[in-house]
Assembly symmetry: C2
Homo-oligomer: 439 residues x 2
């Protein structure tokens, strides 16, 4: 395998970046990731701003929820408005009015989930733990994600070969190609603080042989991404950090192999992506195969996961950051995250549907104990009215609550790790029975 020989693996090398572990409790890490646009206290939840906006939320309001960092999508922004336009505006931070840290993905996820593989006719949206019933049981697909049935019936929109991926725009049917080099070029133009290597996202419908072959190709692409990243250099005043992506599906050998390969490459951080299996238990196994192989000195990101049990389990295994559309997407459907049930017991998957008639006259806020701008001012009945009247302020206010919910959860986790009490947080949220499955 060709890898650039100059930089040492396992060190965060970009200018303006540093990762420091400031406390540890078991394998759980309390860290601090410095970026040119500010410091991310970890563990942290990364809010999703697919099209250079957290849907419906002013970036200042996003910041007021305590959200420290946002994730934007290379695939979407490449197609619309175009990376050159964003670059001409001085980059994504300035374009979208967000002065804090930003991640961009590589475009691979959307290429495979919004398109469909010709040979396998599935996308990463299959990664929804069907055995656990609900799509939102853990994580969830991207905005506009499609069902497996639709993927199977769709004519081919994606072709993969060693060079890269040919795909068809979901917007206008135009044809495009992403390669490791072009993905990096687009992400250099966008100018996020953290950018991701271009990978192929396999799904639970891929067998072990395909998953292994795909992961090996992703490793070759990883080396090409590193080379392109160094050759191109930053196009904005600040430097960027390139994270590698571990693939290998839910198969032990390919997943362990991928973790070893990505760990040995001179990335500034590592993201864990692809198919994590069909259940929480599968995902925890994948993390157990992966995380111990990763360099201690680098930040670790888990892609597309944002439910409370998964976050607690992943933090327990040493993951630092998470992104997921579920908290914001659910909010737009009136699903508000709540910590407590009516008896005051923590609910790790607690949420209420504000469209339910039971909230029609409820004067209480989503959560009496929440300090968000929504709970401070609005009743469940008012929020339900907004959804029933199809008023966009409803999704806006619930999104703010759910982002605040995630920020408070992560702060609780950080404080607990610092105090050496992370285990108590896990037990409080999940109880001993569930905890046994998490640990």
């Amino acid at each position: 395998m060709d890898t650039p020989s100059t930089p040492p693996a396992g060190a965060l090398r970009a200018r303006g970046f540093a990762f420091e572990e400031i406390a540890r409790d078991g394998a759980a890490r309390r860290g601090r990731l410095e970026t040119p646009h500010g410091t991310i206290e970890t563990p942290a939840f990364v809010g999703v701003g697919t099209q250079a906006t957290v849907k419906g939320i002013d970036p200042d309001a996003v910041a007021r929820t305590g959200t420290q960092v946002l994730f934007a999508n290379t695939y979407h922004l490449y197609l619309r408005p175009g990376a050159d336009l964003v670059e001409a505006h001085g980059g994504l931070h300035r374009f979208m009015g967000w002065s804090g840290p930003l991640f961009t993905d590589s475009g691979g996820f959307q290429v495979f989930s919004l398109g469909a593989s010709i040979d396998h006719r599935v996308g990463k949206v299959a990664n929804i733990f069907p055995e656990e019933g609900s799509e939102s049981a853990v994580g969830g697909g991207p905005p506009g994600s499609v069902s497996l049935r639709r993927l199977r019936n769709r004519t081919s929109m994606v072709r993969v070969d060693e060079h890269g991926v040919r795909f068809t725009s979901h917007i206008d049917g135009s044809r495009h190609v992403f390669t490791p080099e072009s993905s990096i070029a687009v992400q250099r133009a966008l100018g996020a603080d953290v950018v991701l290597a271009f990978d192929e996202c396999t799904s639970p419908l891929h067998d072990e042989d395909y998953t292994r072959e795909s992961a090996e190709r992703t490793h070759r692409w990883a080396a090409r991404c590193l080379a392109a990243f160094e050759a191109g250099g930053p196009r904005h005043a600040h430097d960027q950090a390139l994270f590698g992506v571990v693939q290998g599906g839910a198969f032990e050998e390919p997943r362990r192999r991928s973790a070893d390969v990505i760990a040995a490459l001179p990335f500034s951080g590592v993201a864990i992506g692809g198919n994590l299996g069909r259940s929480h238990a599968d995902m925890y196994r994948v993390l157990d195969w992966t995380v111990p192989a990763l360099p201690e000195s680098l930040p670790r990101h888990l892609l597309g996961i944002g439910d409370v049990p998964s976050i607690l389990a992943a933090v327990a295994r040493g993951v630092d950051t998470f992104d997921c559309v579920t908290p914001t997407r659910n909010a737009r459907n009136g699903m508000a995250l709540v910590r407590l049930d009516d008896d005051g017991v923590l609910q790790p998957r607690g949420r209420i549907n504000l469209q339910n008639a039971s909230h029609a006259r409820a004067e209480r806020p989503i959560e009496a104990t929440c300090d968000c701008a929504t709970c401070a001012r609005f009743s469940r009945a008012y929020l339900r009215h907004l959804f029933k009247a199809n008023e966009s302020l409803g999704p806006q206010l619930v999104t703010i609550h759910n982002l605040r919910f995630m920020a408070r959860l992560m702060r609780e986790i950080r404080d607990a790790i610092e105090a050496g009490l992370f285990d108590a947080v896990v037990r409080r949220w999940l109880g001993d029975g569930v905890r046994a499955r998490v640990r």
Copy 2:
């Protein structure tokens, strides 16, 4: 005509209310309308929050635009979520999180514009000055307003008689009745600071005879509204002020007669409603027939008008407040209000369509001289991207700009009246040629 005999006409009598004229320039008045929820510096633009929300805008963000007062719709809130629910929540202010002054209309406008008269099959939406071409030339219809063609083809949804109006819900087809008494009861339950008498809104397709008969009925309803208002009393901790509504269409004799009748009744303010004709010139004539007949001591509101030439012309004739959906509705379609053209000349009907390709790469804000939260942070290109990507942050950010535009316009008008320079403002905005038509 039966009128309550106790209270004197022409005095603002509600507790917690006062109207003071603090400067005058010709007939233009610089006033101050005190309400239980704060003072409105007049002339003022009233933002429209039809369904207890300015569409897509957090009430705190509305306040930050300098918008002093909002207008909510009795018809909509009666149907959904119901006045009893709002009352149980402590009233509209608390329900919608707006602590400033609030107006509610009587429901009459929506009954006639969302329904259709059986005899005439038109609604007030006809009041769009068809001779001047564009629907948005002056004012505009309510949210969800329908074209005359659609109204003509619609089966009857509204029946008017002396008792009141039977109408069909636009939401679920259920049958309802509004009377002067029930409109006041609903508005007492909602608890806005300023409430309006229940009137019939005639349209340009009504002839003079029907318009005269309708106005006489509206006058009888006005007396019933006053009686019901006094008999019911406030249902919240604060008092409310009842404004009468002048009708009479664009016909001189009925309009003058209506102004005289309403002026003689013991209302706390007067609104000018109904059909104002088919052109700006028609509207100015209607104002010339109406305003001089109104008590000096009472605030005067012009219903449904919000374009710059009309506001300047109406202020010049002594109108104090205005409401209109156009600034916010246009914003949701990407139409941003601008003061200057590319040569720096004031444009009284200036607006740009942010969806136009010409803005695709424009790094400048909507207006370089605007101090709104949108212009301070976002380029036209970013706003265009949001509209093209169907992102609700686009309508939100442009609405904030347009509300700020209106607030700045009204402040400029207030400052000019205080300085005795209102004529210069009219000349600056409209030029001598247009000014001749305004004056």
